[in-house]
Amino acid sequence: MRLRAQRHGDRVVVRVLMSHPMENGRRRDEAGRLVPAWHIREVMVQLDGHTVMTAQWGPSVSVDPFLQFHLRGAQAPAGSRLAVTWTDSRGEQRRDETLIG
């Protein structure tokens, strides 16, 4: 996962690029069989170990999802540790961290 946090005035812009096939269950393979749905369902954002945002996603989020959100700068001082974790419909997880500048 690519994770970037940039301070702009009184907010921190966070951009996340996740790597995931995000199969929506409607695509057919070369043999004409439906490829089963397999997509990120939950995203958790933690600041210094505390959950500050969660998301649930359906199958219509794009392949290799891009997410942008904003932290309030006062709540995310320089040196805060930002972690993003996704969990997909198979229960697989990926977590990445970055330090906020």
Binding site: N24, T51, M53, Q56, G58, V61
Partner: protein, 158 residues
Amino acid sequence: MPSIAPMMNRRELLGHGARLAGLLAGLGLLPEAAQAAWREAAFAATDLARVWTALGISAPQESADIRLIAPDLAENGAAVSLGCATRLEGVRRLLLLVERNPTVLCALFEVGPAVEPDVLIRTRMAESSPVWAVALMDDARVLYARRTVEVTLGGCGG
């Protein structure tokens, strides 16, 4: 050696939970209770009415305070940036919906006080469709902005 620690009864435990949730909210954090289970029915819904029912929403109101971030025209439906933002205080959840997708609800965000209600994701759009940015407020109001995005090439496959 057997444990001699007193067992907490259910009522005490719930009371502690409520106090903890209040404490966490004061710190700008999301209480664990907000991290709800996967909302199967809402994400399986094939029309708006079923999404509202599954999420317990009754009377959404159009509001100029909600900003829908979306292109007027998307050449490729496989990756359309959709966002929802507002300067209002007291936002609990944000939703993004594509009315004519096979399943209507794209994303649901639970935002704690440390997060500004301003999120954006890339979505797939099967065809030209009205899209919705919805904010669920602490005072139970449901506010939305809605606009049609024209899609040249659908992006849902199948």
